[in-house]
Symmetry: C2
Subunit: 413 residues, 2 copies
């Protein structure tokens, strides 16, 4: 890593953000800001919030989830029910400076952390509030995904019941959407001096995401739900094939060029030419490939079944076919360990856990990777932040520890 | 909508962004910028790019996909192979002004649109380049998702083969990540005068997303892949239940409070108390609920099977249980039509298609919704943009049409 991509050269260097959020959406947003150079202070209640022990866990019991979602932040813990604790957090959020006064939260029923209360203290605050539903009712990725219609489209015709996917996609997307709003509002403040309050609900992110693909408009105008079609790509050709060694690959042909490459490398040009003639169709047309996806897949299957994944990989790459291997999480780990220098994943030494696989920002800045930093130990930065940001002296901080507003000195969190 | 939330009050009002991107990731990012008030100019080759006819289609053949992903932009089409066309696009991207010089693209093999070429013309350019793989090889959502390990975790134990989910989650996430990078780099330019080149690869977004959940670290430290467990939520209690009228609901109990509410409304407190005693476990512990998820689901199933979805909805809401209905896309449309005033979806009149369901930004700005605007007609803003941004006169624009650098006057795209 060169100095250019170091902390000083990161685009958000100097910015300070206070985060009071749990689970995936808000914390992943805060982590993104930290990766781009911001000083992100995550505030939790004493002992940690409800996400601090979330699965998966390391063998020593530490949460791999929490430590993976909070990398590169500072951690402050305060008694959030004590008036003095509330005042400390309010002061952190509304501390003066053009590079401060930025707050990301997902609190429910903490009215002292809402926009009216905070903007009364700092009118030019930038505040992004993450919600479940827009009316404040709770929601999680699995509930909004079901309501958005995705599990009904997932899986095969014969599955009957809807299939939940395991990726909390709406959580991750809400986190990035929150950061987009935050940075847009910050630009507005830089230009006009005005603060902005933004809200973003997980349920709305899901509806907006599906609407952006035209899938609701399709249901509206056609009056029908699209068919479930297993592992096939919708409206084009793409499906998975098993290889001779029990692995599996995903192969896609969106464009004419990709389709021709696929036919060429598998030696199926003549078969498909004969099929086109027999059916009176043109398989160079994407939608025609979609209509005949089962037949195309049946014709191609033998080529994949006769080769192991290494041979398939080599031949498809040489032919510039659009494809990817299926991997399990342990395959991803093995591939990383076989070639760590070229892997986007990196090991970090995580206090409280030890060495673990992590990844930095997927954004590369000026051709430089942004490597991961470990997560904080819960509460470990409390004293430092109160001194830095609020200018509290050692005796005052000591008194707050003694009074129980902060954790007992030397205690955890 | 009040004036405050109108175009002038949107946080990115005044910003101009040139987009030269296709499919979901880049265009969804550009749409986000347009929703927040930026003037986003999408540049396409004459006749449109490969995504212009992508499924789903309206009954009249227009792409609901393209028109849903490009809402609120202006559309310019130019012969991208002609030297004069290349010069026009380069001039648009590098036009002077603190609110211009921002470029979002996913081009492959167009070296005249790369950072060295463009920054030579405008050194303070903010340029975000979206890729498939970081080495420039193509990738799509389905191929990176397979390689990231998600289909292997999706579906039930008995499915055997991995299950692809249909949501292009990584595409949507890459779009928002690109915008995060763009706005961060814009802030850096506002402060320092420096331009920034950022790259973001779909494959890296997928690996970083899964790594952020701790799932690779889990595979690394445990040496094993997590089990596939159908529609259950990992590490907690959450699963789907059929109702008496053939509908289905997703029910989740992450916290003690949610678990108690669920037991109370279903009248199962005594059964679970007896079960806890018999097994010697505490079901108020989240992970214990995960271990006993099948038993818990079996005990709860009868309550749901005895009620229709309307009754289930009423009772769960009253009890503050965390839940959501499963809906199909046509259910979403029907629910919107039954109560359009309270629906986050809106109808827009889309030139070239007609009325269709759309949604604005999921971000609400100062408690105001940001409603959707229609997509442009392909190429319709070409003359206006060349006049506005480059100051070209009518005769010069006429000559470009005559020479075929722009589409024939009155012609489509």
């Amino acid at each position: 890593m060169t100095a250019e991509a170091g902390a000083g050269g990161r685009p958000l260097a100097g910015l300070r953000v206070v985060e009071c959020a749990t689970y995936v959406a808000g914390p992943s947003g805060g982590m993104t800001l930290a990766q781009l150079g911001a000083d992100v202070i995550r505030v939790d209640p004493l002992g940690g919030a409800t996400d601090h022990r979330r699965w998966p866990l390391a063998p020593n019991g530490g949460s791999l989830y929490w430590h993976s979602l909070n990398k590169g932040k500072r951690s402050v813990t305060v008694d959030l029910r004590a008036p003095a604790g509330k005042e400390l957090v309010t002061a952190l959020i509304t501390a003066p400076g053009a590079d401060a006064g930025v707050f990301l939260d997902n609190n429910v029923a903490r009215s002292w952390l809402d926009w009216p209360a905070l903007s009364a203290r700092r009118p030019d605050l930038v505040h992004v509030h993450v919600q479940g539903h827009r009316d404040g009712r709770p929601a999680v990725d699995y509930t909004v995904n079901a309501a958005a219609g995705i599990p009904d489209m997932t899986g095969g015709e014969s599955d009957g019941a809807p299939v939940n996917h395991v990726l909390p996609a709406w959580d991750l997307l809400t986190g990035q959407t929150a950061v987009v709003g935050l940075l847009a509002a910050l630009r507005h403040r830089d230009r006009t001096g005005e603060g902005t309050y933004l809200e973003v609900a997980l349920a709305d992110v899901a509806l907006a995401g599906v609407a952006a693909l035209g899938w609701y408009a399709d249901a509206q105008l056609s009056g029908a739900d699209r068919p479930r079609h297993g592992n096939h790509v919708y409206g084009s050709f793409g499906v998975d094939f098993p290889t001779s060694d029990g692995r599996r690959v995903m192969v896609v042909a969106l464009t004419e060029g990709q389709w021709r490459s696929l036919c060429q490398v598998t030696g199926t040009q003549e078969v498909f030419a004969a099929l086109e003639k027999a059916l009176g169709v043109d398989l160079e047309d994407e939608v025609t490939r979609y209509h005949h996806r089962e037949t195309i897949a049946a014709i191609l299957r033998g080529w994949f079944a006769a080769r192991d994944v290494a041979t398939v990989s080599r031949e498809l790459e040489a032919a510039r076919v659009l494809w990817g291997p299926y991997r399990t999480a342990t395959d991803v780990v093995r591939d990383h360990e076989a070639a760590p220098a070229s892997s986007p994943l990196t090991e970090v030494v995580q206090p409280g856990i030890g060495r673990l696989l992590a990844m930095g920002s997927p954004l590369r800045v000026r051709a430089q990777e942004v490597p991961p930093r470990p997560a904080p130990v819960l509460g470990a930065d409390t004293d430092e932040v109160l001194a830095d940001v609020l200018g509290l002296g050692a005796s005052e901080i000591g008194r707050l520890h003694d009074e129980g507003v902060l954790a007992p000195t030397g205690g955890r969190g």
